[in-house]
Amino acid sequence: MNYITLTYWDLVIAALLIGVNAALSIRLRLSLERPLVIAACRMVVQLLLLGLVLKVLFETVSLPFTAAAALVMVLFAGYEVMGRQERRLKGWWSYGVGTGCMLFGGTIVTVFALTTQLQPEPWFHPRYALPLLGMILGNMMTGIALGLNTLATNVGRERAAIETMLALGYDRAEAFRPLIRESVRNGLIPIINSMSATGLVSIPGMMTGQILAGADPWDAIKYQLLVMFLIAGATGIGAGCAIYAMASRLTDARHRLRLDRLTVK
């Protein structure tokens, strides 16, 4: 692959555009110049660190190091999912459910892709494993957070209906069925929308990157399709597991509704 390597001066010139934004902010008194500059600096530092980490990982190609990096990514993604929930499970459950399900779904799908479709040598090569996992996690986060939010918000609204079903002798799976259906549906809608819009409205970032890096568009598109299928699969697995886990935590073995295990807004 041949591509145009950027010099640091190229980046400095591009960063002038941030200066344009800052000037706009000062002119309109948005008081956004500080957050703007801080965010830009954070981005630079985070990406430089990421670059250092990736360089080391790509040179060592070690399974423990790659796995550790993957775990750190999952832990951060779990934190993000927790932060996006208005009402959440009390205690560690809130973090545990989202993180556990991302670990589960993300691992399954990434390993599946690495061992059957991509087959790099060795199979866990961080050059493939980490970017794939990153894209998968980024999209799973949205699906899981939306699904859990739907469940946590609507369980309060549907409390009377659920408790009436339980009081009449329905079990907890039956009483939660409509709610679980609605939550999984909400978790899956973003990926469905993004699949229908891909190529018409948006040119996916990953594909753009590959094309800029000199890849044949056809190859880039095949990669993009692979990634979209992986994302869809992982989101379904992750959101499904997370919603079932939360629903079972919101009930107990005696088929009671346990809203006391949910935080109050």
């Binding site: 009377a160 209906a161 009436t164 009081a167 009449l168 002798g169 107990d252 005696r254 088929h255 009671r256």
Partner: protein, 198 residues
């Protein structure tokens, strides 16, 4: 016979209670005294301690849904999950004949939830419990908001169930209604339950 020994939960002091088949017991007490907590504890809808049994069958030996089919609780404000009345019945066709004694037309089974008044909802919620023929009914203010005639109709339906051997524990604020249906009463105040005859 429903036997309760040492039933307790936060907000409710331990209490013992026996309810033989065919008998009704009224429950009185100010709002917030713990009447609903008590009924919910018997139905095992909230975490609670103590022993409940129906005849020889102990509550802890059976899955909670089985217990609640035998000992059914109806909330003061019952919930609905389907779009139509019939969605809430196990067998809407057979359930039709429960409606006229409650002063509702049989075709109410096809009505949408949105058009129901509070009083209609209350009687349909009761019909939904009656359809499942529990051995013990725990009814939280089953006739609040009904006019005198309709209240009498509901009471008549409940009395036929008592004659058939069902037992009834119900919350009411009307001492006369308590006397019409029951000879014993529970008075609940600040989580303490005392039994008296009416």
């Amino acid at each position: 016979m429903l036997r309760i020994r040492g039933l307790t939960r936060p907000g409710l002091e331990p209490f013992d209670f026996d309810l033989p088949p065919g008998e009704a017991v009224a429950m009185f007490g100010p709002s917030g005294a713990g009447k609903t907590l008590l009924l919910r504890a018997i139905a095992d809808l909230d975490p609670n301690d103590g022993a409940c049994a129906l005849g020889d069958a102990r509550r802890e030996d059976m899955p909670a849904p089985d217990w609640r089919r035998l000992v059914s609780y109806m909330a003061a404000e019952p919930g609905w999950w389907g779009d139509r009345v019939g969605d809430h019945f196990a067998d809407p066709d057979a359930g039709r004949k429960l409606l006229p004694p409650l002063k509702l037309p049989e075709d109410a089974m096809g009505w949408t939830l949105a058009r129901l008044s509070t009083g209609e909802k209350q009687r349909l919620a009761l019909a939904r419990v009656l359809e499942r023929a529990p051995r013990v009914m725990l009814l939280d203010e089953p006739t609040s908001g009904l006019d005198a005639d309709t209240t009498r109709a509901v009471e008549a339906v409940l009395r036929t169930r008592l004659d058939d051997g069902a037992a009834l524990l119900f919350v009411t604020h009307d001492i006369e209604q308590g006397k019409r249906l029951a000879r014993r009463a529970l008075f609940v105040d600040a989580g303490k339950v005392r039994e008296r005859s009416l």
